[in-house]
């Protein structure tokens, strides 16, 4: 079965009250959801909390998934909502302070080979919206339309963000290649 079809089938079983399907979804989708939060410069503990909060919310609103529709855009739309709520609660100032505290561990212009960079370091120079698009497109493996659905934007806007992000990443990795 196609992976998306499999997710849809699990979601339908989950809506019918099948706990095994819920567990399978949690096991299968949590790693990529965890990465989704971790890439936004939150600590591992915060990413854990956000993951847990997201699943609780997904469980609460699982009836809003409509069978036949792709699962990932629905899931990420809710995960984004949780993340925005988290930002609002923690306050932008503290988020900035936290990212500054972490700066010595992930210097942006480090002259290291691309392969040694962590995901956070690699995506660090990108604005949040571009980082999110790159993550959903390239790491979660969603299509342009699915990303547009998840981020409530148009396909054109997703394409533009991805294009700009790739330009910045190419430039950055090119510089690193030259330096190393």
């Amino acid at each position: 079965m196609h992976p998306d079809g499999e997710l849809e089938a699990l979601m339908v079983r989950y809506q019918r009250g099948d706990f095994a399907a819920a567990t399978a979804l949690i096991q299968r989708l949590s790693p990529q959801l965890h990465r989704f939060f971790a890439v936004q410069f939150v600590s591992r503990a915060s990413a854990d909390d956000l993951l847990q909060e997201t699943w609780l919310r997904l469980h609460e609103v699982r009836h809003t998934y409509r069978p036949g529709e792709p699962v990932l855009p629905w899931l990420y739309a809710i995960a984004r909502h949780i993340r925005v709520d988290h930002y609002r609660k923690s306050g932008r100032t503290s988020a900035r302070e936290q990212s500054l505290d972490e700066t010595p561990e992930m210097p942006a212009p480090r002259a290291a080979p691309a392969a040694t960079l962590t995901m956070e370091e690699m995506l660090a120079p990108l604005p949040e919206s571009q980082r999110e698009v790159i993550q959903l497109l390239k790491i979660s493996g969603m299509s342009l339309e699915e990303v547009a659905r998840a981020t409530s934007s148009s396909v054109g806007s997703v394409k533009q963000k991805a294009f700009r992000a790739y330009e910045k990443l190419r430039e950055r990795l090119g510089k690193m290649g030259g330096a190393s």
Partner: protein, 233 residues
């Protein structure tokens, strides 16, 4: 560096990320287990749209019938066009609202864009179709129409909300904006059926104003409600 090489680097870097602790995943599964009852998925967007559309149309017509169909009786041939455009905008508004209430809906214009397009289209139509440039009494009649339009928008919005109450707005402000725009369009429809004042500035300013005012009130209400909900969570 080519796009393919960049894709590979990104994928490899992502794979190197540590996975969440398996104990955490077990805890998450255990936390939802006690509440594993079956749920009924939301109906299709078409059914929801039909429900909201019919409810708001019925409310606008019922209120106009109660107040009297003076407006539609006084309309000349081309002015009837407004009664064709308004139901189309109403359907679009309902679709916008539904998309905001179902996470991961198909890409659609932002509610702010819809509001701007609807207001611009109505203002242009009013300016073309209504040529009476007299503006007396501008404020008193205008405020009465704005009030009547908003009082129609309230039940239309509540009826729509009843239909969509099981939805989940990932962006409450946008959902409120879409809801208020749709409800405001029901208010204008009622005014066009009822109000016999065809002075250009009256319809252009006071009738059109029902949509942005209703949208602003609904967006503000939804924002405050969203904050309260997330604060409680």
């Amino acid at each position: 560096m080519r796009d393919g090489e960049l894709d590979d680097i990104l994928k490899k870097t992502a794979q190197a990320q540590p996975d969440p602790d398996p104990a955490l995943l077990d805890r998450i599964a255990a936390s939802i287990q006690p509440n594993m009852r079956p749920v009924r998925p939301l109906p299709s967007a078409r059914i929801l749209n039909l429900g909201i559309y019919c409810a708001s149309l019925a409310i606008a017509i019922a209120i106009a019938a109660k107040l009297g169909f003076f407006g539609v009786r006084a309309m000349s041939g081309p002015q009837i066009l407004i009664l064709v455009v308004l139901p189309i905008l109403l359907g679009w508004g309902a679709a916008e609202w539904i998309a905001e209430m179902i996470p991961g809906s198909r890409p659609h214009p932002a509610p702010g864009t819809f509001l701007a397009v609807a207001c611009a289209a109505l203002a242009a139509l009013f300016a073309i179709l209504f040529r009476d440039r007299v503006t007396e009494p501008f404020v008193s009649q205008g405020v009465a129409c704005l009030k009547a339009g908003l009082l129609t928008a309230i039940p239309a919005g509540l009826a729509g909300w009843t239909i969509l109450r099981r939805g989940f707005a990932v962006n409450p402000t946008n959902a409120g904006l879409a809801a208020g725009s749709m409800a405001g369009l029901a208010g204008i429809l009622m005014l066009e059926l009822h109000c016999p004042n065809f002075q250009t500035w009256h319809v252009l300013v006071w009738h059109t104003a029902v949509v942005p005012v209703s949208a602003a009130i609904a967006a503000l209400t939804a924002r405050l409600a969203g904050r309260r909900t997330s604060g409680r969570a």
